[in-house]
Point group: D2
Chain length 299, copies 4
Amino acid sequence: MHLLSEREWLAYRQKNKDRARMLISCPDRAGIVAAVSHFLFEQGANIVQSDQYTTDPETGRFFMRIEFDVVNLAERYESIKESFRPVAESYAMEWSLVEANRRKKMAIFVSKEDHCLLELLWLWKSGALHADIEVVISNHPDMKETVESFGIPYRHIPVVKDRKAEAEEAQLAAVPDNVDLLVLARYMQILSPRFLQVYPMQIINIHHSFLPAFVGAKPYEQAYQRGVKLIGATAHYVTEELDAGPIIEQDVQRVTHQEDVETLKQLGRQVERTVLARAVGWHLEDRVLVYGNKTIVFP
Amino acid sequence: MHLLSEREWLAYRQKNKDRARMLISCPDRAGIVAAVSHFLFEQGANIVQSDQYTTDPETGRFFMRIEFDVVNLAERYESIKESFRPVAESYAMEWSLVEANRRKKMAIFVSKEDHCLLELLWLWKSGALHADIEVVISNHPDMKETVESFGIPYRHIPVVKDRKAEAEEAQLAAVPDNVDLLVLARYMQILSPRFLQVYPMQIINIHHSFLPAFVGAKPYEQAYQRGVKLIGATAHYVTEELDAGPIIEQDVQRVTHQEDVETLKQLGRQVERTVLARAVGWHLEDRVLVYGNKTIVFP
Amino acid sequence: MHLLSEREWLAYRQKNKDRARMLISCPDRAGIVAAVSHFLFEQGANIVQSDQYTTDPETGRFFMRIEFDVVNLAERYESIKESFRPVAESYAMEWSLVEANRRKKMAIFVSKEDHCLLELLWLWKSGALHADIEVVISNHPDMKETVESFGIPYRHIPVVKDRKAEAEEAQLAAVPDNVDLLVLARYMQILSPRFLQVYPMQIINIHHSFLPAFVGAKPYEQAYQRGVKLIGATAHYVTEELDAGPIIEQDVQRVTHQEDVETLKQLGRQVERTVLARAVGWHLEDRVLVYGNKTIVFP
Amino acid sequence: MHLLSEREWLAYRQKNKDRARMLISCPDRAGIVAAVSHFLFEQGANIVQSDQYTTDPETGRFFMRIEFDVVNLAERYESIKESFRPVAESYAMEWSLVEANRRKKMAIFVSKEDHCLLELLWLWKSGALHADIEVVISNHPDMKETVESFGIPYRHIPVVKDRKAEAEEAQLAAVPDNVDLLVLARYMQILSPRFLQVYPMQIINIHHSFLPAFVGAKPYEQAYQRGVKLIGATAHYVTEELDAGPIIEQDVQRVTHQEDVETLKQLGRQVERTVLARAVGWHLEDRVLVYGNKTIVFP
């Protein structure tokens, strides 16, 4: 929560000024790492961190995240991309090159419960989230004052039954172009397939249970009835199938027979905000790759 | 795992010689604790530990576990029970009085996977399980040598499809009378309602998943497919509804995209054996009370 | 973080209106529980929760925390205390009777790092801390605006080397009378014995390490140098011996070789704020008893 | 604990038949990864996993662990090493090439407490430790029968005060040549510098505390006196400075005021055996690199 001073912030920017991240996925075969690292060497880059994973060394898919420093990144960004294209093509890569220094843009959706929203706002204010929060959108007016006190615009867009499409239109209009991430911070409305298609694997939801246990509504009530000894939360990308998108992070909290539903919810909020914050942080640092319905996380 | 020396064992028996546990459940109302503690005071007992829980102070059910020392417990055990009867009746109590020093009798059922069985055998040999293991019963011959090397009888009772009833007859005959606990230590056959009725809330099973996620067979395969970030295990009492009996204990282990199904299973075995051992230990020390489909655990 | 609505707040007060907590410590001997519970029964009380602990059933000290409901607590509070006095005397008890509904008063001391302060403010605003924060005192002006935005007075009292006594005078004057708890939420000045004597076992500090490892200053630097694989935090009561007062709570966070000192600190802040919040919550609910240099916590 | 069947064992060997691990450390500079991966590509190798770490991209030291498959590894092992030599020299690398299929040799030292020894024996029997246990050496005769029942030689070498050098001679003679790892599984004698020099960073000890808290003897007694809320264990390489060698792994277990010293020890044994087993497994799979007094673990 430590607020970054101007000096610290400049130091951070300075430190990451020439740092880039390359994300790659392609059919696995011999020579990929050699080709990529040889390319980076030719560019004068110094590899700082590198993670890779293959689903199967013979017939599988290969995933790589590589962080490197290269002098004058900003000026050379486009030319590096251009030069890499032939390498990428020869291995049929899906890939991207990201400047670590470029702040991503995010929007937050929230309903009435504020613990996840507040956690994100605090982390953001403390400098731990490397992103700009462009707007907070809610189907309720409740959080307006709080959000605006952080200097962030708040848009109250009511969602009326049978007129959801209208609300989604307004929401899509309220989200700035080229936003990198939408976070559903306890947003209790289901988004339509049409909405989801605009942001594929760019919407993170926090589900207040340890998925796939207790899918759907009222998971704490379900957990209480079942007498479980741990409650949990799950951060996942949102897909058309409800509560079934790729899981990014999960965690649990021990409970006993003593906890009533209200206390379960209170304990659950702690897990929810922690799990969501971790998932959002990883996404913003390009640490999450999606493969089928699973994630590969290089934390 | 520390093997108790003869001296340590005698010390344990001496220390617990006069220790008793009283377990009570009854409709909650004012005066219960006063009545019980007054009774114990009159008996010259010294309360060592006491735990209680009420589902609701007004209209709920009250649960209590109380440990106390009383001089010459063995001789006075029956007379204490006799004297408590009127107290119990006036509060409509279900109750029991247990001598801490009396070793419970248990039987273990196992199929082919041995990690849970071995954990129990080791804990038992080390003196950490206050029980006698009367017999290990298996539908496979594999563990015979290992079990007998601990000085424990091994009964191989094959379970043939369409002749399960016959096998259960043999199993029931092989379990000594007045056994306090049956542990299904990765026993992969479903027990019939008839069998279960003989041992109500006396059969503990380890389910190799974080129930109610991944009920039924092949939970690690299911977990792998779903891409979860934690795997878990659940120890529960066995009831007629498969995988749905009262949960005693659960725990989890963090996993990543790197783990294949085999590694998930290997990690899972660690959680399974730990969770089962905890549940068995609590049962043997009379720390688990059942209410509806939930447990109250006073650990 | 959930902000209590007026309705929820009234419901809470209503639910706890007649709830009291009795805290007892005395030499252990037979009959204590019977005497206390008989007394409560005579008062028409219904025991809701009861925890006890004895250092040794023969010669030890006995500790008890008992929660009960009694009709018209507010009017009868003094008379119940009066009636209990002879019981207490006959067992040489130290004891207190607390109305659960009475909000405790607390003051917070902070220096420059704000994560612990903010966690307490958020919990407080959400209704999870049952206390009034009377004042925040700091040797720096930095947090003034934030604290005042919560409607809480902020006192900036600089601490100048060689004139500490003067500062402490001002601090003592700034803390309202009958405050129940002082929280050092990353307050980086050492308090004098004279100051500490005013608030015995009423000052909680968060130490940014897993005590007794890395006592004193710069624990994250120490931890980094030593290459530990877990970092932790400790909440403890402040006594004259630096970093050696009774420990209330500790927790840890896994780290690897990858974390530099800055990242250790960032991860550490999460543990610190969680551990401190737990300790403060337990203190406010009268769940912590002190015995010698240890705490007994009935969570 | 699952005993590997002959079939499973062959499958494991087959799967790892052509798998190698390369461990590298050298001054960091641009081009290392490119050089290594280009070399492997030329050898026809397919990289399966790769981890790297640099203490500082500019002036630091670079560490790498790379797993790859290459056809006919066994025949080509020496020629691959030979071909890599010039690459290694041009970057001033310390390096090694390990066949994953080659089982390492280990010896275990133990005194009287058997929980750590048993954990290793069970893991070994279950096939989870990819090593041959050549001998168990003890200063006590107690574990002879148990160890020999696993088919492992047991050497009882008493350690008499003032004649330690003699005992160490016998120990060194009892340990087979070219052993890769010595595990002190609760071996309670201090080894001389002379002994340690024979096995630099090849001796793993389990310390029964959360180092650097409670160094030296009787840590559970120390922890009890200090009233800590977590107890822990530390696995570390043994160096001349007692309890101060590079830490490989640590973990903790929550405790409360209720636990007496004996129970702390019992809980501690669970943490000790888990932590030691993890450290030993990582060492055997070449996942631990040492740098100064710290470890880099690629788990």
